[in-house]
Amino acid sequence: MSIEVRNIVKKFGDFAALDHVDLTVPHGELMALLGPSGSGKTTLLRIIAGLDWPDSGEVAFDGENALSRAPGERSVGFVFQHYALFRHMTVFENVAFGLRVQPRSVRKDEAAIRARVKELLDLVQLDWLSSRYPSQLSGGQRQRIALARALAIEPRVLLLDEPFGALDAKVRKELRTWLRSLHEEINVTSIFVTHDQEEALEVANSVVVMDKGHIEQIGTPSDVYDNPQTAFVHGFIGESIVLPVEVDDGRVRLGDTPLNIAAERGSSGPSKLFVRRHDMQISPCGWGGLEGTVRRVRTFGPIQRADIVVSGNRGETIIEIDVPRDRELRDGEVVGLQPRRYRIFADRI
């Protein structure tokens, strides 16, 4: 099922959690909503699920208005951040819940319910836990039971709120791979919320980067990593070196020194120069105006890492770059810096 979100606004008091958000999720997509806390990603997920209501805007499933439907009528499977398993029910009854509360006219008989629950527990590979209570399970097991419970109602869309947030690193890695293969197997349109870029880039086939109630960029994982469209995305995803610069009709200055790099023609004003750390290299002085003083050098294994102080009008900036071992650096040495690739974004006023 495809999902369209149009012009959604949601305010909590004066705080705009979502500020005119538009989003289209094609059928079969595995999409990540990525952003720092407070960016509105969970609110957007809850609005799609029907657990929150927008102040204005539309949500449509396959072109049909979804806002007029109660959460239970949207056939949405929702996996909560802390799983929200029913604590007084066994694993089996948790998974069976969605089937048991169906209206009598469409409810399956007991044997069919049992068969379906068994099938789901097999799918998440936890059928041996069916008579346990949630408090007797590990975090990873609870997560998978929560998923099985959400899948029981044969949802047309699966929504997961920070699905791996509360798990330790090892279990998290296993579950990521597992979620990907599960998605390939059942191919239901899925959206998950995360603040972990690695998780988003690794699991999803499309990533939505959000900040302060806005969508900053939508694209494939490699797209948002290699071609960030905004300063926020460049800074949030991957490691970046950021230098404050002045742009004057396409010419770039650091302090009073003109730099041998170009910004977009016609752009002016205070901006930020973004360079991936692995794209910044040491060059002889005098290359193109960008220079810095070596502050501290540390070596480990094949890597030599240096803190380099770059001064400009708006104070000193310390950047950290990797230098090959054969290039010897001394504290206090002035070196030239050459970005292989870079992006310049004007400061938002």
């Binding site: 657990l51 959460p71 239970g72 949405v76 007084h88 819940f97 509360v101 959400a150 109602i153």
Partner: protein, 289 residues
């Protein structure tokens, strides 16, 4: 040398525990206090009740006045516990699961009956419904008897015991949050199904706990009931009121026989409370973390 260090007998093995005599003193003092102030009175109640033998005891309980008092007490308890079960559940639900303006005020209001002297609570109803009261003339015109009758007694008791159920439920429901209800809704459950299948089972021990304490207080309430009852013998006397009347009339065996029933109620409540608290501790173990 290490050998000498080992050879020294250690008087206190654990630096965190008190010396033995301090422990002994504390435990001894506690036991003495409990004996004098709680066990002894309890024993005396039963001793006095059976002072002239089991026959006199049973005869005292079989007295029409006593039977009427027991019956009235039970009826009042059923009414006020029933009302407070519903009110308490609704209030706790509203406070724990929703955000609305004036919530803090509502929480304080719920606790009000605990901070007001029961006699004052009773007086409030007299001022409201009495012959010279605010609504008294209207009630008289319509021939409705509230005071000095069952409705007044039930009202006063309900007022005094109002906080028990909601107080037992509010922290429990707040701690459990709304995630499980949301999960149930998203799985297609209706509001009623969510309540009976998810919310109620999660709070059932807390609810029973509140009902138990509410019942104990409803049956034992004296002050508020004393003001509104009118002490009509065989009609508006509850058990605690009858105990006082009988005692003042020097009918010690009868007074203590009724009192022994109230004491028994207290003991049963105590045992049930302990059992419920054990269930509550288990049920409260959160499923997350």
């Amino acid at each position: 040398m290490p050998e000498t260090a080992i050879a020294v007998p250690l008087e206190r093995t654990d630096a965190r525990s008190e010396p033995r005599w301090v422990r002994g003193l504390l435990i001894g003092f506690t036991i003495l206090f409990l004996t004098v102030f709680i066990v002894l009175p309890l024993v005396i109640v039963f001793a006095e009740a059976f002072a002239r033998g089991a026959h006199a005891y049973l005869a005292a309980l079989a007295d029409p006045e006593a039977l009427s008092a027991i019956k009235l007490t039970l009826i009042v308890a059923v009414i006020s516990v029933g009302l407070n079960l519903v009110f308490g559940l609704v209030a706790a639900w509203a406070i724990a699961k929703f955000e609305f303006p004036g919530k803090t005020l509502l929480i304080s209001l719920v606790d009000l009956p605990f901070s007001v002297s029961p006699v004052i609570s009773g007086l409030v109803f007299v001022l409201l419904f009495g012959a010279q009261g605010f609504l008294g003339p209207w009630l008289q015109d319509h021939d409705i008897q509230l005071l000095f009758a069952l409705p007044g007694i039930a009202l006063a008791t309900t007022f005094v015991t109002f906080p028990f159920v909601s107080r037992a439920l509010i922290p429990l429901m707040q701690e459990q949050g709304t995630a499980e209800e949301e999960a149930a809704l998203s799985l297609g459950a209706s509001g009623l199904q969510t309540f009976f299948r998810v919310t109620l089972p999660n709070i059932k021990w807390g609810l029973l706990y509140g009902v138990l304490l509410c019942n104990a207080r409803a049956m034992g309430e004296f002050g508020a009931v004393s003001v509104v009852s009118g002490h009509i013998r065989g009609e508006t006397n509850t058990m605690p009121l009858l105990v006082e009347i009988l005692y003042n009339e020097y009918q010690f065996v009868s007074a203590f026989a009724i009192a022994s029933l109230l004491a028994l109620l207290a003991l049963v409540t105590l045992v049930a409370k302990t059992i419920l608290e054990r269930h509550l501790d288990e049920g409260q173990r959160p499923s997350e973390h």
